[in-house]
Structures are given as C-alpha cells and as structure tokens.
C-alpha cells in the first residue's frame, strides 16, 4: 500500500483522535511506558540487580522512593527496568499469535470446505484444553525461559484471532465488492489480502489490545511460577513472587510492581476500547 493512502487514513484518524479522550488517555499511558523502557538506563537511580546488604528491606524514603527488597536492591530501579521486559512480553506475546491467527483465519474463511474444516477442528482441539495448562506444558517441554513462553503463546494464542478473522471473512466474501473483484478477474491472493483482510481486521486489532493485557498477566504468572524470566533479571511477575514472603513486613516490594502491571494493563485496555470505537467495531 502506498504511503499516500496510509497518510490519508492517518489524517482521517487524527480528527477522530482529538474527539476521543479515552483514546488519548490510553495512548498517553502506553507512550509513557515506552519512553520509560527506552530511557531506563538514564532514569533509574540505581543498578537494578546490584545487591547491597546495608540497605535491606528499607521502607520508601527519599533515597529509595519505592523502598528496597530483601537483597537491598532499589525497587524503583527494578520497576523501571522491568518495563522493558514486560512491554516486550505484551508485544511479542501478541504479535505472533496475531499474525498466525490472521493468516489462518483468512485462508480458512476464504476457501471454506476441507481447509476450513481442518483448521477449525484444530482450533476446537486447542480450545478443549485450559489455556494456562497448555501453555505450561509447552514451556515445560521446551524448558523455562522467555523464548519458550513466546513459542507457547504463538502455538496456543492464535486460535482467538483465527476465529475472529474467519467469521469476518465469511461475511465479507459474499459482499458485492468481493463478487465484483472475482468478476473483474482479480487473483485469489489479491482478493483475500487486499480486499477482504483490511476490512476484516479491525475487530482483531481491538481484541489484540485486550489480549495484550491477558498476555502480560500470563507472562507475570509464568515468571511467578519460575518458568519465565529467570532471576535476578527485573520483571514485575518475579518481583511480586519474590516479595511474597515479606508481604506483611515489607509491602512495598510487591505493591509497586503490582501497580505497574495494573497501570500498563489499564493503558492497553483503554487504548483498545477507544480504538474499537474509532474504527467502528461493533462488539
């Protein structure tokens, strides 16, 4: 697609952006997190993994605004560096399922018949297992780590996107402009990816934003269980897990990473909801 069309589309959105406070608010939160992630080395006051036995378990103070943990690490610095990992989890954990699901859904919806049946039965099989159980078993087979987590998400998470896109494509392929495209001799690939997909994708884009929230929480949960990010790397899920034994005496170790998860999730869902309104997606 030419830059001109994208430019034109963006111009159209700008007008709507201005009228959408929720969209602006969500976008502001997300942009703030991205900036923090990029500027982590410059804005974090301490080294996030440097242990200092002299300042163990200190309550929030001017020197350590979020306090310190049981190894004397600065919680604020760890939360700031954690943005990098958690943002990565949310984005990569969504982008692979999104791409796979979109392709599968488009092809299944467009061709129908045996292709559709095969893919949709596969979807049924995957949906028959509880989501987290499936993800955990895949990670257990591949070995702990973020790489395994992304693979597991890609293998399991695409089903929702495939179903969303397929349903849309099924409706759109009988629309008059799709029939017109066939009657004008357009190739199947062109009809699928230039005419049907762009019109079918809005719902999935919106869903991906709320999916990012779930993936983020899953990533944190997996790390909490010791299957994701490995210590001593700063990641919010691990921080919550590590602070758990001290919850009654040093609440700040768990509270601040927990709040960060909530804030990021809130940003994604605000942005997603408002994006849905702006794109005219009916749910």
């Amino acid at each position: 697609m030419s830059a001109r069309t994208i430019g034109g589309k963006w111009m159209g959105w700008q007008g709507r952006l201005g009228r959408q406070p929720a969209l602006m608010f969500g976008a502001t939160i997300l942009i703030a997190f991205v900036l923090i992630a990029l500027l982590a080395p410059y804005v974090s006051p301490y080294d996030p993994i440097l242990q200092n036995a002299e300042v163990r378990l200190q309550a929030p103070s001017w020197a350590h605004p979020f306090g310190t943990d049981n190894f004397g690490r600065d919680v604020l610095s760890r939360v700031i560096w954690g943005v990098r990992i958690d943002l990565q989890i949310a984005i990569l954990g969504v982008i692979f399922p999104f791409i796979i699901g979109t392709l599968v859904g488009t092809v299944a919806g467009f061709f129908g018949g045996i292709v559709d049946t095969l893919f949709m039965r596969l979807v049924d099989i995957i949906l028959a297992f509880p989501f987290l159980v499936l993800v955990l078993s895949i990670i257990a087979i591949l070995g702990p780590g973020l790489g395994s987590f992304y693979i597991a998400m890609a293998l399991v998470g695409w089903v929702s996107y495939a179903r969303l896109i397929r349903a849309q494509v099924l409706v759109l392929k009988s629309s008059d402009y799709a029939v017109a495209a066939v009657s004008l001799g357009f190739s199947r690939t062109r009809i699928m990816f230039r005419h049907l997909l762009p019109n079918a994708i809005a719902g999935s884009v919106v869903f991906s934003m709320s999916d990012a929230v779930l993936v983020l929480l899953n990533g944190a949960a997996i790390s909490y269980l010791g299957l994701g990010v490995q210590p001593p790397i700063a990641e919010w899920g691990i921080m919550v897990a590590e602070g758990q034994p001290f919850i009654t005496t040093a609440w700040w170790i768990t509270l601040f990473p927990g709040l960060s998860i909530v804030m990021l999730a809130f940003g994604f869902s605000m942005f997603g909801d408002a994006l849905g309104d702006a794109l005219g997606v009916k749910e």
Partner: protein
C-alpha cells in the same frame, strides 16, 4: 374537508451537537390531516419525512434533537408539550405506526396473536379471552385466511407480505385514530404491494381511519392518497389536493419529482424502448447465448451427508442477446433473475446447460470462457455502498482494475482514471474520496466507472437503481442511456421495477419461479402481455395518473 384530527403548526426540530452549530432538521412544518383522510408524505431519503412522523409521537432518534418550536395538536391536546405519561397513551392508542421492514419490527419470539393481544389489553383493558376474540377478528380483517390457527404462529412462519399484514394488525389492535405508515411497501414485490395498499384502503374505509403514508413512490401516492405533502431538506415545499398537485405542481422540486417518475414516458431526447430501433437483423450473431441453463442450490447438508431438498433457482432458461441490445429481466424476488445473472458471469456454478459468449462456450472451454468474461464483461450491483471496498479510494479502486486487466500502460493509468470519472460525470476530485464520504448516487456512478474500466462489451446491472431515490434513479438511468450510445454497450438490466425496464430496455424477459414466462420487445410485452402472470405484474404497477386506478381489480386477482 372535515375538521382536522391532527394539526401541526410550525413544527421545528433542532439538532444540537456538542461543539457544532445547531442545525434545523425540521423547519416550520405545518400541515393538517382530516378524519378518514390519507395524506401522502413524499420526499427523498434525508428529507426529514420519517423524522417528522417520529416527532409526532415524540420518539426522536437522538437525545441531541429537540422540538424547539411549534405545536402538534391531536384533538385539543398539544403533543409537543404533553408529558411522557400522556404520550404513552397516545403512542399506539391514538397514533399507530407501521414500518418498512416488518421482520425487524415484529418480536420474533412472540406469536402474532400475543403481539396483537398485548396492545388490546393495554389500551382497551380487555381480559385475556375477550382480547383473543378481538385479535382473531383483526386477523380476519387484515386478510389472514385461518385466523384461529394463525393466532399461535410466529412471525418467521409467514412471508414478507403476511408479516406486513401482521404489523398493520398490531397497529390496529390499539384502535388508533391515526395510522402512520413509513414506506410500508418498499420492501415488497409489486403484486404484494398492491395487496397491502388495498388492505390499507379497506381499513381506512371500515374504520374511518386517518393515514399518513410516507413513500418515495409518487405512483403509490397517486393511487391511494387524498392529499400530498412534498418534503425536502426538512421543509414542506408544497402541499395540496392530490389531483391539483399532480396536474399543476408549483415548486420546481415537485416538478422534478413527477418528471423523474419512471412510469412517465421518457423525454424525447432519450433513447427509449417506446420506439424500438432496428438493432441488427435476427441473422446477427448473438453476443451472449444462454442455452437451457439450470441452477440448483443444495439444501444445507448435515454432518452425516443427509441433504434436504435442493432448490431449483433457475430452471431451463434459454435466451439470446444481440450486440448493442438492451435486455431487461424482470420478476419478483425469488424468481431467479439475479441467480441467472451470476450464472452467466460464471460466479455461480450451473447444474446443466450451456452459456456461449461471442463464440466461446462454457462447456467446451471453461478456462477460456471465464477468461473472456473477466476481460469483456462487468457487473453493476444493487447496493452502491456494499459494492465498493470501503477502505479504497475511488482512484485506487479504478487503478487496481486497470492494473490487473493489464491493457493500459502504467504511465497512462492516471489519465484513464480521469477519463472514467468523466464518463460517469463524477468530478476528478472523486479519485481521492472514499465511499463513506459519498452519496448513494455518487457511489453507484463509481461502481459504473469500475465496470467501464474493463472496457466491457457486456454490462450486467443487477437491480442497480433499486436502492436509490427517484431523482437519482432517473439520473443513473440517463447515464446508462448515454453510455450505451457512446460506447456501443450491450446491457443486461435486471430489475423488479417494471416501469424502469420499460423506459430503458429494447427487449424484456419476464421470469417467475426460475422459468422464463414471456419474452419479447418491451413495447409489445408491456402493452399486450400474453401471459396471465405478466398481465398481473403489469397491472400491479401504481401509475402516477390517478385516473388509471390500480387497486380494485389488480389486488384481488393476483392473490
């Protein structure tokens, strides 16, 4: 005129959007409706005629709309100032409404009978048994053949026409003084339309009911109404007694509206079918030959391969189209006319038979046949919005067609896009516009430009004017006439509207339940129809001349 039941004075409705200047949607509309009188409210989409009727019962579609001035006098009561509680009695009880689409206005999970008795019990306070009796009486009156049994049937068990009857019944169940009918027959076939109009007239006579009939079809107004009010852009441009207004319209817009009604003879400049030209001799080689084509749709199969009965959508249809000819296919919904068009274009598989396009046969060489069709034919669709990809600008859409067809050198494409826009009378600036920002008529022109982009020899237009307002309809028909002359096009024009086909086509094919019932020169078929079905179909067209009555005989026979 008897004393008015309803008198509206200077009714003004304003739209206040936050951050925008207030807009007047209805601008000082005044009119009166006498007892037992039928008022035709005419205008195009967006003229405010539906809004006017919703305002009468104070059901404004948005909170941002307000009645800012004027009075709505129903008897002594001013509805513009009545309380919500008073309005509850008025809605249904004194003013009943029926709508264009009965399917979405009837409750699908309630029986027809329950929907009738609900209103009877609420507004007339009868007990269940008496209400049922009253409901059965109404069902009988609105033409249900077995009211006792059909009382317990659900809306989906009925055809569109019967559902519309049911909706009229629901409106009558509250025994209103005024019935507002908003495009009640627009979604129906002509023969059914005639029946429903007949029913409305019968009810009017039996109950001395006053009716406001909203419609875009002046033919309907001419056949049923006593008075006409013409609306445009929220204003009442003209009103008066039917005959006076039709004979001597004062406002230019009313004149245009009457002039564009398709039952009028085409203007002398137009190339009509009224004086058929000599288009080649029968010895000419046909451009398109359809030979005994059958199309069947399988019933939905179950997992275990059981198939319910197949539907025979097109049954043994044969026809020939000569180069340069304009052929119309008419028929009611479900007659198989659209399926036939799709089958001809290779978009729907045919069960048996053959199609030959300019010597290339579908049976002998399917690939070559489809290849030629894709490069030498094009289709124009009914719904102009659904026919255009909403994400592509008109320029991008045309460019793509030219690129894929590959006959225009890349460097010439922008110039060709400009030419195509000129051909359909769209300004060149439309190249950058998207369908969403365009009107229905403009979208339809863009759709025609897309068809012309392949430089076709044959264009198939499937109900291409059905979704448009009358004046726009007339413009699109003119465009087809001009293009036909300029580009020596062959046109296959599918429509349910016989008047349009008559004004545009040289030859006409009448379809009914998948079969061709009759075909011949337009003038011949329309003036001297041989088959009873064609005769019934033609008689059901509401003529704009009130002296050519539609109702008494036409409705009865077809039923």
């Amino acid at each position: 005129m008897s004393a008015p039941v309803l008198s509206v004075r200077d009714l003004t409705v304003t739209l206040n959007l936050p951050g925008a200047a207030p807009r007047m949607l209805l601008d000082k509309v005044s009119l009166e409706l006498g007892k037992g009188e039928v008022l035709g409210l005419v205008g195009e989409s967006g003229s405010g005629k539906s809004l006017f009727c919703r305002t009468l019962v104070r059901l404004l579609p948005s909170r941002n709309m307000r009645i800012t001035d004027g009075r709505i006098l129903l008897g002594d009561e001013d509805l513009a100032r009545a309380s919500e509680a008073q309005m509850l009695d008025v809605r249904g009880g004194r003013i009943g409404m029926i709508f264009q689409n009965p399917t979405s206005h009837l409750d699908p999970v309630m029986t027809i009978g329950d929907q009738l008795t609900e209103g009877i019990r609420f507004h007339q306070g009868l007990d269940a048994r008496a209400a049922r009796k009253a409901a059965v009486a109404i069902l009988h009156q609105i033409g249900f053949p077995e009211p006792e049994r059909q009382f317990d049937a659900y809306p989906h068990e009925f055809s569109g026409g019967m559902r519309q009857r049911a909706m009229i019944g629901v409106a009558l169940s509250c025994n209103p003084e005024i019935l507002i009918a908003d495009e009640p027959t627009t979604a129906l076939d002509v023969t059914i339309q005639a029946q429903i109009l007949q029913l409305l007239m019968d009810i009017r006579r039996e109950r001395d009911l006053s009716i406001i009939l909203i419609t875009h079809d002046l033919g309907i107004v001419a056949q049923t109404c006593d008075c006409i009010a013409v609306m445009r852009e929220g204003r009442l441009v003209e009103q008066g007694r039917k005959r006076d207004l039709l004979r001597a319209p004062a406002h230019p817009y009313t004149k245009a509206l009457i002039g564009s009604h398709p039952s009028m003879p085409p203007p002398s400049t137009g190339q009509g079918a009224v004086a058929p030209k000599a288009i080649g001799t029968p010895a000419d080689k046909p451009l398109l030959e359809v030979d005994d084509v059958n199309v069947r749709f399988a019933g939905t199969g179950s997992l275990f391969g059981g198939r319910s009965g197949a539907v025979h959508a097109v049954a043994g249809v044969s026809l020939k189209i000569l180069p340069g000819e304009t052929v119309g296919i008419v028929g009611e919904s479900g007659s198989g006319k659209s399926t036939l068009a799709r089958a001809i274009l290779g978009l729907t598989p045919i069960a048996s038979g053959n199609v030959v396009f300019d010597g290339t046969s579908l049976r002998e060489d399917r690939a070559a046949f489809l290849g030629r069709l894709r490069r030498e034919t094009a289709m124009v669709f009914q719904d102009p919005y659904n026919a255009l990809n909403p994400r592509l600008s008109i320029g991008d859409m045309l460019t793509e067609v030219l690129k894929v067809q590959g006959r225009t050198p890349a460097a010439d494409i922008p110039a060709r896009v400009g030419e195509l826009l000129d051909l359909v009378d769209l300004g060149r600036e439309f190249a950058a516009r998207r369908p969403r920002s365009m009107s229905g008529g403009q979208c339809q022109r863009a759709g025609i430009a897309r068809a012309l982009a392949v430089n076709p020899r044959l264009i198939i237009a499937d109900e291409s004017t059905a979704a448009l307002d009358v004046t726009i309809q007339a413009q699109i028909l003119d465009l087809f006439r001009v293009l036909k002359r300029k580009m020596n096009l062959t046109l296959l024009f599918i429509a349910h509207d016989l008047a349009i086909v008559r004004s545009l086509c040289d030859r006409v094919v009448v379809m009914h339940r998948g079969h061709i019932v009759e075909q011949g020169a337009s003038a011949q078929v329309f003036e001297h129809p041989a088959e009873p079905y064609t005769q019934a179909l033609i008689r059901a067209i509401p003529d704009i001349d009130p002296d050519k009555p539609l109702l008494p005989q036409a409705a009865r026979e077809v039923a």
